[in-house]
């Protein structure tokens, strides 16, 4: 664990990702301290440009855009983190048990994973969401978890396979430990960084897919998620009327949050696979 923290400290991508994430976590935790007010309030001043009073201007409904952006951080992070966590748990369950059990069960689980993996997720998600007349955050998370676990399961399975015949696992088997003990206390700790990388990947997938759905109007259109903001911006021709901040700011936030997860994910890939790390120049030789 300690060495993991040190590796994070020495990885510029991880630091950049953590910093962006921290900013959004603060936004999500204390939106009312950053800017007070209700994002639904109609100021009766529509389509204002940027100004001191309304940092990013107002929407076609007279709502303050900056206020909505700040309040959008909480649902975005909630969706990303909850569905990322649940999808990772599912990936670990399927991937690691497939590798550990081996044989027919492994083949079956592996086949199942591959089938889920190649099914195009967004069309599937759109179709599922299309049948629901009520769009809530819970439905969204369920759909994201069902479609988002397969990639991680595949990666975890292959790492677990490479661990399976190591000596320390053999030793544990000879000691007579139960399979569940070996999986949880012997195998998983050796896969920490890949599991973390998977969580970050799943969170990235969730934030992008969720905002895509919201943008299509398949989220909760009464909320102030960033994707929903884009949905209203698009429906009110924000671009054509010159309300650029309305169309750009929410998307920029989605992109930044996603970039934070992507950078961290990549950093953890590097941490778990030293071959990928950037080469350090030898300063001694040069001088």
């Amino acid at each position: 664990m300690r060495s993991l923290l040190t590796s994070i400290r020495h990885n510029p991508k991880a630091i950049a990702g953590l910093f962006i994430l921290l900013v959004f976590v603060v936004m999500a935790a204390i939106p009312n301290v950053i800017v007070s007010g209700d994002p639904a309030t109609d100021t009766t001043q529509v389509n204002l440009g940027m100004s001191g009073k309304h940092l990013l201007g107002t929407t076609a409904f007279g709502q303050d855009i900056w206020l909505q952006i700040v309040h959008g951080a909480r649902p975005a992070l909630l969706i990303a983190i909850i569905s990322g966590l649940l999808a990772t748990v599912l990936s670990v369950l399927v991937g690691v048990s497939a590798a550990y059990l081996g044989g027919v069960l492994d083949d079956a689980l592996n086949l199942f994973t591959d089938v889920v993996l190649v099914l195009p997720t967004l069309p599937l998600v759109i179709v599922i969401a299309g049948y629901f007349s009520q769009h809530s955050i819970t439905v969204m998370i369920i759909v994201l978890v069902i479609t988002g676990w397969s990639y991680g399961a595949r990666q975890l399975r292959s790492q677990a396979l490479s661990l399976r015949n190591r000596d320390f696992l053999e030793a544990a088997k000879v000691r007579g430990e139960r399979s569940s003990y070996i999986i949880v206390f012997e195998m998983l700790p050796n896969m920490t960084s890949l599991i973390v990388a998977n969580f970050l990947g799943a969170a990235l997938y969730s934030i992008l897919t969720a905002s895509g759905l919201e943008f299509l109007g398949l989220g909760n259109t009464n909320s102030y998620d960033w994707g929903t903001m884009l949905y209203w911006a698009e429906n009110n021709s924000a671009l054509q009327t010159g309300a650029y901040a309305w169309a750009v700011a929410p998307g920029l936030c989605i992109a930044l949050l996603a970039a934070a997860f992507a950078l961290l994910n990549n950093a953890f890939d590097e941490i778990s696979n030293p071959a990928l790390r950037p080469v350090r120049r030898l300063r001694v030789a040069a001088s």
Binding site: V118, P120, I126, L208, G212, A258, A260, N266, P278
Partner: protein, 327 residues
């Protein structure tokens, strides 16, 4: 051969899974949305249209579920997807058939470009490891993979169609030019394809670059590379014939696996640009609650992804002798 047969088996199995999911979703979800839908359409739909709706939603109460499933499979096999609700009396298959060439052209061509370009850049970055290219590009592409497809489209429209009216922002071609194999129409199609294509390119290329770079970095540590260097082969030849050639295979497998993601992103891009392909049609069908069209489109997209997976499997088999020497 064994490898290809196994992959063919996988193709059939996945296709069956997709068909079954498509059949099961409306029947498994809580009854209220379906009931609400029926109440909404009550009295508005008649004859074939009502029948299509009932079939799509699984309301054919006089048949058992298993019988319905068989009928459904038979209908899918004969491409009989019924009649569209919102574009009555057009058949679903003809509606979807009109959209397929657009998506095939846009997403197909863009994906191939992204693959070739991304693999090339990735190979170069790995070859010049630690150089300027390698320290600058990967972080940029990592961020690129996190960009929301549709938002990239919105920004491109803003910059290149709105602020600077250089390129068209929506539709597949100009309305006043008749479809046909003539210069004017083809030119119009091409200019309309630029912005959507760039949106897909910008967001999907990063994946290829990073996979290629990471695989090639591992390949470069192999002994046969050191051997090639020791033999004094020109470095160009080592890079292309030794390192890149051996690294492109995992990227090709990755290509197959990520087709689903690319197609998903393309759905949103098509919607942003009102591009008349299957993705745009899918979203419109969902908004109009046009279930027969929705189901047919989901199947079409899935089949397209599965075929591209199969094609990349065949290419892997051709390129990699190990897959041919069957287990």
């Amino acid at each position: 051969m064994r490898f290809l047969l196994r992959r063919l088996g996988f193709f059939v199995l996945t296709l069956w899974a997709a068909l079954t999911i498509n059949f099961a979703i409306p029947r498994l979800l809580p009854g209220s949305p379906v009931d609400a839908m029926m109440a909404k359409y009550h009295g508005k739909l008649q004859g074939a249209s009502l029948h299509a709706m009932e079939a799509a939603l699984g309301l054919n109460n006089h048949q058992s579920v298993f019988q319905q499933y068989l009928t459904y499979l038979k209908d899918c096999a004969t491409l009989n997807f019924g009649i569209s609700f919102s574009n009555y009396p057009e058949t679903v298959s003809s509606l979807v058939g009109q959209a397929i060439p657009w998506t095939l052209g846009l997403v197909g061509v863009t994906t191939v470009i992204a693959f070739i370009l991304g693999t090339g850049i990735g190979a170069l970055a790995a070859w010049k490891r630690g150089g300027k290219l390698d320290s600058l590009l990967p972080p940029i592409f990592v961020i690129g993979t996190g960009l929301p497809y549709f938002w990239v489209g919105i920004v491109l429209i803003m910059v290149f169609a709105d602020i600077n009216p250089w390129l068209p922002s929506s539709f597949g071609s100009d309305n006043d030019i008749a479809m046909g194999w003539n210069g004017a129409f083809i030119g119009s199609v091409l200019t309309h394809a630029i912005l959507p294509s760039v949106s897909i390119l910008v967001t999907s290329i990063g994946g290829w670059v990073l996979t290629m770079r990471n695989t090639m970095v591992t390949t470069l540590a192999e002994d046969y590379i050191r051997m090639a260097r020791a033999k004094g082969l020109p470095s160009r030849r080592i890079m292309l014939d030794y390192a890149a050639r051996n690294s492109v295979l995992p990227n090709l497998t990755g290509f197959a696996m990520s087709m689903g993601f690319v197609v998903s992103g393309a759905v949103l891009v098509e919607y942003v640009f009102a591009y008349p392909g299957v993705g745009y049609q899918l979203v419109v069908a969902v908004q109009n609650e046009d279930f027969p069209v929705m189901q047919c489109l989901f199947l079409t997209i899935t089949v397209a992804v599965l075929i591209s997976v199969l094609v990349s499997d065949i290419m892997t088999a051709l390129l990699d002798p190990r897959t041919r020497s069957a287990r």
